[in-house]
Symmetry: D2
Subunit: 370 residues, 4 copies
């Protein structure tokens, strides 16, 4: 991570560049935008792995050596004989995982801002036929008490039974639960007979932020009591593919059938598995995420003091949620990003964000907002 001095030097450089320029001259937009880590390309080492896998025939649907290797890599990572199911995408991973955890008549407790609640077009409700009990979140996070609150529904036939807790790490607001906080959530959930799902679309960014090691990952997943993880790939340098990883034994009994039934069994699985192997090899997944996280930190520091920008809390992962007092429309038009809610925008970095991209984007913020 850069020192404050280095960051100031960057600002100075941009300012120098600007000397003699008339303000209205629009700067060039960054090569890579800050809209979403989903917009990034595929990491070269991941792409190489895809190319290397492109030889001859391989049994479809998972019975191939690339998939065996990737599963082994996941088992090494978690230090346990976890069960791993490759799937197409993140919504599919979540739906599949939740489907195998639900009891008949069961409901899912999640935060109001969770991806499953607001960004999956109701896929969980449609495919699971289950209610999402959405609790108010504090910038993406929930507390054990918010699970306990629903305990009074247990045993009452007029209410669906809280059956699964689904949390996101890192959250949709770019925040984190500490390992202890995850453990506390799992403890309450398990004490109520519930299972725990972790939506890890950005699990790499969380791991990078919490230590950047396999031990860091395990601390907030398998060691904390999480039962199943949606392990993200596409937001961290892959072309396609996520993995549903069962950390608790025996929960995946019906998983193979459920995966196909929810349309998430890939045919040519080798191309997903090869990507995961490349990503997990030599900690590439963590390094990609560390880079993205550090770029968000840099962006935050670069805009924190700009007029017209309330940069919000310093990021712990790869997104910041500023409030802009003016110029948001022009800035968005110039280099696209998403509005997060009526008062916040979201700027997100990815494995391929460069400091040059940040220079360019900050120049745009200065031009349109400040």
């Amino acid at each position: 991570m850069l020192s404050d001095t280095e960051v100031r030097a960057m600002d100075a450089r941009v300012d120098d560049t600007a000397i003699g320029q008339t303000r209205p001259m629009t700067p060039a937009p960054p090569d890579r935008r800050f809209a979403s880590d989903n917009n990034a390309a595929v990491h070269p080492r991941v792409m190489e792995a895809v190319e290397r896998a492109n030889v001859g025939h391989a049994t479809a649907y998972g019975d191939d050596p690339w998939t065996s290797s990737a599963v082994d890599a996941f088992r090494d990572l978690f230090g346990s004989e976890v069960s791993v199911y490759m799937v197409w995408g993140g919504t599919g991973a979540n739906v599949m995982a939740l489907s195998t955890l639900l009891t008949p008549g069961g409901a899912i407790v999640c935060t109001r801002s969770s991806h499953i609640n607001v960004d999956e077009t109701g896929a969980p409700e449609r495919i699971l036929g289950a209610k999402l009990i959405d609790v108010a979140d504090d910038r993406g996070r929930m507390s054990p008490d918010q699970i306990r609150e629903w305990a009074h529904w247990i045993g009452v036939q007029h209410h669906p039974q809280p059956a699964v807790l689904s949390i996101t790490q890192s959250t949709e607001w770019g925040t984190l639960y500490s390992p202890d906080e995850v453990a506390a959530l799992c403890d309450v959930a398990h004490s109520l007979g519930m299972r725990v799902h972790l939506d890890g679309a950005r699990i790499a960014n969380a791991t990078a932020a919490l230590g950047g090691t396999a031990a860091a990952l395990r601390a907030f997943t398998i060691d904390a009591g999480v039962d199943v993880v949606s392990f993200g790939g596409a937001k961290n340098g892959m072309m396609h593919g996520e993995a549903v990883v069962y950390l608790s034994p025996d929960l995946d009994r019906w998983a193979p059938y459920v995966r196909k039934q929810v349309t998430q069994l890939p045919s040519k699985v080798r191309y997903i598995s090869a990507q995961f192997s490349a990503l997990l090899n030599d900690d590439l997944w963590i390094r990609n995420a560390q880079h993205a996280n550090s770029m968000a930190d840099l962006l935050h520091r670069r805009v924190a003091d700009l007029p017209g920008v309330d940069a919000g809390p310093a990021p712990v992962v790869n997104s910041i949620f500023p409030s802009l007092s003016r110029g948001a429309d022009q800035l968005r038009e110039w280099s696209f990003f998403y509005d997060w809610d009526p008062t916040h925008v979201r700027w997100m970095t990815s494995w391929d964000t460069s400091t040059g991209d940040i220079d360019a984007f900050v120049a745009g913020v200065r031009h349109f907002v400040s």
Copy 2:
């Protein structure tokens, strides 16, 4: 397609090779198996397109130039302003398409051997919540009368209402409907107020067999009255991706939401779209399929007269369904393929099957079966 003389020459060559060999010596299995076109690798030109798309950022979920180009290519192909939705896989394409065609309380008429009925782990029933009225098929094909038979359910509140006809072209049995036959099925379906879906997982093989031109494709789809097509990619040289193509205007009103809701909205769509553009360019999709079809024809002719093999009807697309009187287990062990039903095996060719693969496989058939 090879002449009979050329085929006989191949047989002779293999026999020559075998001279002096003692029969029990097991031949080497083929480089590429005859298990499924899903086992094939990605075509080099398709892979190149993926690599070329791997530059910079692109808006996720379809608003990117690669997708625009692919949609244009589909519109050129069908000669109409069709609506095109990229999806992850074939089961997903079918479920999405059917979901947008169904009426409340509606049912789907299909053949008993159709993929949606027996090979999708009940995904249609689960996600659509609809009954599949499965009619007996004649090697994968159904007749207009088999739709009419269900007309007596219409208007009776105790029965789900026949709402969609789903046919497969080419069928799961490697057979074809002529354009007139498709038109006759569509006519009956439409006269009963039903919509028509065509599962085109192997639509390229059908197109190749029925003329190998865009006109041939149009004749059995848009011209015949089909409303929506699941347009296959993965079985014809792509890594992943299928397209749901709405041929009838206005049927896709809710398609974007349904796509995401059934977990079939890809994030980095550009990598699918680039593949489709490569495939549709310069008729590569047809040439791939023509090759696969001709290899199946060659395989059929090579085994048609072998003892212990009842090769069944000559293929029109890329699969044959022989009956083996002995040696099936050893042959399958040596080079894997699927049993189709208790009396038939399925041998399937793909875009990358070589005559050498056929030489090797036929040698195995001679060794283990004949």
Copy 3:
């Protein structure tokens, strides 16, 4: 049951009545039709029970003394601590029972002519999201081999997993399984890891036919290995209400929630429970069914030799399925009944069918058909 002599005397009486009449004079239709046992009124003793229950307040949703008494009556009947859930109707009973038996990714094996397959407007597919594997039936009955046939789907991820066997007793074709036959079906199902549901919409008619005692009921249900029964009320003299009876312990863990979730939790349960208590008291349920069965037998014997009528097999319960060579439309117009299939009609008796009704109906058959 009447002797042949008595039946002939009836015929004679009708013939006598007809002496001197000119044939074209249309006879008066019967007071009660032969369309369905669902068309019958409520038995007076059942109605009295409803009236007696109409006093003061009672806790809704089942926590009332009438329901406790009815549950006790069911436990006495089955000689076991069965769990009993009152529901609104037959389709609901089936859907609720099946929902609690299904595993994720599971399918239901049933006969092609079963009520769940053809007469519930796809409610099972919609609410359960599960495939019905419908096997060809022999007049409503299936054999153990037809379950075994699907064993090859077990463990294959492309197929839904056979999870529940659903049989009907008496069947939709008015046929019966012997207790040994039910036990053989249950044995195969259980050996494949499946659960067994019995649709007992007409379980009273079956019980009456198989001995007319609680022991007879137990022999083909709890003793044979059936896990859950839909115990019919409305076709046997009740106004509304069926009971889902769990014969195997622990299968009803989620039943209360599933019942409400599938819209089958009645509010004022006391009025259903009171009816069941009246029905089960003093074997009224069996006597009602015995009467209906005997009336079907009488009807069959009265029409068996009539010209233009192929009466089909003698009934064992309360329906016959004749083929009429002429006059079906006029007869149906005169006194409504249902066509069963293109070649059979269904004539069904009920607890309130009188010999006078049969006299009248037979006169109509003679008039319009013979």
Copy 4:
């Protein structure tokens, strides 16, 4: 409605009764509790109608003269050729109605405290496969702005599309929308392309409170723009049965099939229809509700000034939601009622509540709470 003087006279009478009694002596609980209008018995005139319908055979599933008459009565009531579908219960009525209004990928906007959201065990999510967008309510009521808030989801493929507005009248909190307020909600919903469902489980109490005439009913339903009503029967003196009433033409195209598919087609419909005819005849439905409403008002006035009781707002329909500072458990033990939320209990009156019941209950409140 009683004058304040008359109410005070009642209090005096109770106090007189109490003279000379030692306080600890527990009073006798009321004959009828204040737990729910679902606990009430069937009104005698409704029961008579059931008995009168119990003659001979009637075609099942709705094609009977009792149902025709009831439909006519509903048409008279609404002054329009409305379509009427009898169903078993309230949850079923809601699910059926919503199912016919939803578009593919659609969602339902409702209040957080609505019955469909919290008291139907997730039946809507399970059977409709749709998200309930639950907005915060002000004692059961929502505002047009809370619908508009979700307009930004329209056209975005990551969000389910707001398709149906479901409001309750009278609300679960015993509050009312004025006809103008309903019209304003309908206007916003329709302007966004949404349909409007009104859960009228207590529509009679609302009608009674808003004028007690057919015109009053029409003003907040058909005239205000409501498309479909769940018209309650069981909470207002019926044994079982609700009606789904389509006020807007053409919306019921698939209703017959959906009704059966969601397990809500009653077999012996005549017994429900006869009850509705009795209820609608001679304004019995309004008079029952007026009585219940006036009893709630009386109860409120009787407890409003008691120590330990914060009676909350005066009721407009048949429930009050007091807060008790002590003694709630003993009072509930003595005469059961439900806790509404952590700080409120719910006391509900019904068509059969007597002033004697209120005398007795108030005595209990004085004994245990005050």
